[in-house]
Symmetry: D2
Subunit: 337 residues, 4 copies
């Protein structure tokens, strides 16, 4: 009989409910013991669907339950840091959705709490668990294609989120590009300097709150490599997720996946399918795998694959990009908090 | 509250256990009420994993249970026909794995029983539910690329099954190519004549029982189109599943999927990934979708998407191919039972 | 100073004029000494374009010229055999466009004449010189992917030739598929049996003279492999030229080339270019290379890469396919002349 | 009878000899009247190969020949400006290889001379004539995929040129990236600002003269779009030439071409061919087309497709990139001469 990790999910909205289903259906090493949401009826609906007995509105009720070993935090971003601190004090192992927080001070507080309590803290950078991006990293890390020289990422959403979401999102560098800022570190290690340019080309309303819908960011890495990321809020042909690590003895690329493998040839040429629509579809297996690995780390007391430090570093890069954009100059990462 | 279809799975081996997991985890419109296997411990293991209360050794125990509306038959092929008959007499809706039976008389008996009882009988030709093959069919059926002229299928397994399985399998035309014989009917309708050639090029042991490991089958369709299928028992680069319907105003193709989207470029060229390993991986979503549609048909009393007649027709084509191969001549489908 | 082979081109229509330009512009080892066409003005135009001094109407005038070492025959098919005989008797080295002739007796006469005279006779099966098809053959011949098991060819023209051409062409198996009948021998060696099916699905006028616009031919090879060819007279998406040799330890494929490398992504998906329009574009480099190699063989007295025997064998396969189609039975190659 | 443009080629080294062959063999509207090289034997060899009567060492001898209407300048870069001035004064139409000169003052002098004399001056930015890049531009210019937002170029050489060439080349931004600086203007129009980063990761000897082997350049366009170029001196998998213009309603990409269309599948995956080796192979048709269009413009007195202004603008961008790299700050194009 395998030892199961008793886990509670705090925040059962879009992302949290996906985690709940994944735990129940695809992670036999975990037991979903309880669900929590300040909108109790939202938590209740998930519990009903999955047959979960315990449903609470206040996450403190779960922290005092000695039977619960770990919490998965998928509540709204502004609540992350406080829940992490409380959960750490209660001795829970912690998986927290990205970003840890918008404020670096809050992040530092949360990290310190976790460290002091000696609990694990994994951050939900799901793309690290994508099979193609992993494969690129393995090939590069193996050294078989030599030294990394140029990293390129194309990360374009298929459409804008709601404007009210955007207004509170931290903007394109802290919301959309944050995944790239983690990915570049996953692939090539630390960044020392960034330069960002961008524009509002698709949705003028963004000008009201100083956000962008289009950007390019270039990066210098500690290992000497250089990189370029490009982002857009709206790629009408679908969620565009590409990566390349060009090295001294070869190149490793991750192309887009396709919704299906059908191709139609006619007088216009050959038409093939768009990519899977959005992150929920494209990265579905990653959401399972990140939590599965977290559970394994808890069961076997191993270091988690994406640490709080990783979570902080991506936010720092986001702030550096914004600073670079606003001051129109390259910004050293050391300039940020 | 949705009405759930109470369903029992008979035969919980490799395929049956997949169906059990799919029903529990991914088909909320069905309730897996009971599982049955003559190897009771096999059924018990599946029940334990999925939290199923009722576990029986003898399927008759399930047929007398008025609470069970439908059965999914995934037991060994020789038992299919008898279970269908019994289940039909008991008024159960029936989903049966392919092939219905090896003997056309047995198939006819089973079909007659289902018809007499007025119950649904769906056959498990899972590939009809593959998104790419469906897309090809939709495009062709829409008429946008004109009249079908040539159908081509490449269906190659990544490796041989166990020899003892092969000895009882009905041989390459009734075991491996049977999926293609259903697929050609799904895409282009009825076949009127086939010619088959083949050889033993990979595994001499097959000669002991007259089977082949390599074949090509050509077909004439009632609509005037022609087709060619090729099969192999062992494609070392992986499970090769391709289809093309060439039409008077274009062509529709379904290519292979890939294990991942990574590509490595070096002095040798560009290396991309193999296809997903085998049917369990490649057609995983199809196993869910075929049962989901069956459940929908039961709930809404609609005709099933793959009928007993379809199940029979594919077996007839398999026999026609064997007859053609053995007599080295084209064989009309009307020559077979 | 390189020794140049003095060559005369007999027949300066579409194909002959291409050969003339290739010799003058791209084969420095050859000197185009004279051109000949029964339509003198056609030959004159080519001569003017390329600065050729000698222009004749009657090819016999060239054969008596001791200065001419080789002739390239690109006149109409019915004249090939007689010109070969005359050129052989005159001691000229011979390159002849395909097919050698429609009548096997004529072919035999021409081959005997060349053999008796001890002159080289190369047949214009240009596709053997395609870089992708060559690469497939090299890989297969190297043994690195094991034993050949299945050969597949798709050969579809982009559109019908003129009906009056078709009426005298020998029909789909002797005109269009003849290239495939040579290609299969190039790739896998001798064929022992064929079975052909076909239909008129695109152009009813073909029924007037018993031709087909759609066919599938299956083949058994002496080495035990099996094969399938499919042909169409009209692929609206362009000239479709694909080949696969599936082997026991891998597969080697030659896909289509593309008119350009542009891809457009929009809400419909990703659209890529059609193949190069037709044989003149797709196989342009082959027309140079086959003559270049012929010239090299003449200069160094080596055996030619495509022999008269090869030219005969492809025609035999064409007749076998017609016999198979008309009698609806597999036909052994040994049944034909 | 078509009117032929009498053209002389000045400089018959690697690039010049290619132009000579192209004019003679593939541009019937031009007559190659004379060739010139300060290494007379080099010019003589080309003349012998192509049957050109007139061979001179000093280009002034050609300028006084009233029979010569146009000159194609393919001599070494430092000689370009002076030859342009002299040729313009002599009233010749001018095609000049890129770059016009390294010194902006020299370029301005040459442009002024051509303008004063009222002669055409076309610059040899061959990539504008690539069918795939043209197709991208056509699609974008048509407006069918909306407003340009992001331009991406990957331009990587397969290997380093000789070090002595590099030392005098102007460095990576004026030698390698200069093609991209023209291409971005061809695709999206004027650039207003650039930021460049780079490194020496492959060949330490470059540090001796301050050159780079790896770089990324980002650009702001006058139309609001942003762009990123990446360059390397050595891509071991071959000459990597990719371009994308991402727009508000779609994206247009130009991928790499391939040496052949063969694909080998085995236990490692699927291996496809590298790109054509280098610019002489990949852009071969462009070298013909640019001169063909120049000849057409001369014959019909039309504006040339790549002007002296275009030639100057690319050099300006190269200097801006160097300034940006050296000062590590974004540089406005208006800052450069």
């Amino acid at each position: 009989m395998i030892r199961k990790v008793n886990i509670a999910v705090i925040g059962t909205g879009r992302m949290g409910s996906v985690h709940c289903r994944n735990i129940v259906r695809q992670i036999p090493e975990a037991e979903l013991t309880a669900v929590c949401d300040i909108r109790l009826e939202v938590a209740q609906a998930v519990a009903d669907e999955l047959g979960i007995q315990r449903v609470v509105r206040d996450y403190h009720d779960l922290l005092s339950d000695a039977n619960i070993e770990a919490v998965l935090i998928a509540s709204s971003t502004p609540t992350h840091a406080a829940i992490i601190k409380d959960a750490a004090q209660a001795g829970k192992q912690i998986f927290c959705e990205k970003p840890l927080a918008m404020d670096l001070g809050e992040i530092d507080g949360a990290l310190a709490a976790a460290e002091k309590a000696g609990v694990k803290l994994q951050v939900g950078f799901n793309r690290r668990f994508d099979k193609s991006f992993r494969r690129v990293r393995e090939i590069v890390a193996s050294g078989e294609i030599g030294r990394p020289c140029i990293l390129r990422i194309t990360n374009r959403d298929p459409d804008f989120p709601a404007m009210e979401f955007l207004r509170a999102s931290g903007g394109i560098f802290l919301d959309l590009a944050i995944h790239d800022f983690d990915m570049v570190r996953y692939q090539l290690g630390e960044v020392v300097e960034v330069y960002a340019m961008g524009n509002v080309l698709l949705e003028p309303e963004l000008n009201e709150f100083g956000d962008l819908d289009t950007d390019v960011v270039v990066l210098k890495f500690a290992n000497g490599a250089v990189g370029a990321i490009d982002n857009s809020r709206k790629a009408v042909y679908g969620y565009d997720q590409r990566l390349e690590v060009f090295c001294s003895n070869g190149t490793a690329m991750a192309g887009n996946e396709q919704e299906d493998a059908a191709i139609v040839g006619n007088q216009a040429g050959f038409l093939s399918a768009k990519p899977p629509y959005f992150f929920m579809q494209r990265y579905a297996p990653c959401y399972v795998e990140e939590v599965r690995q977290f559970v394994e780390c808890v069961r076997n007391d191993m270091p988690v694959p994406v640490t709080g430090t990783d979570g902080r570093a991506a936010v720092v890069l986001g702030y550096a990009a914004w600073k670079s954009y606003r001051e129109n100059r390259p910004v050293k990462i050391s300039e940020i908090g």
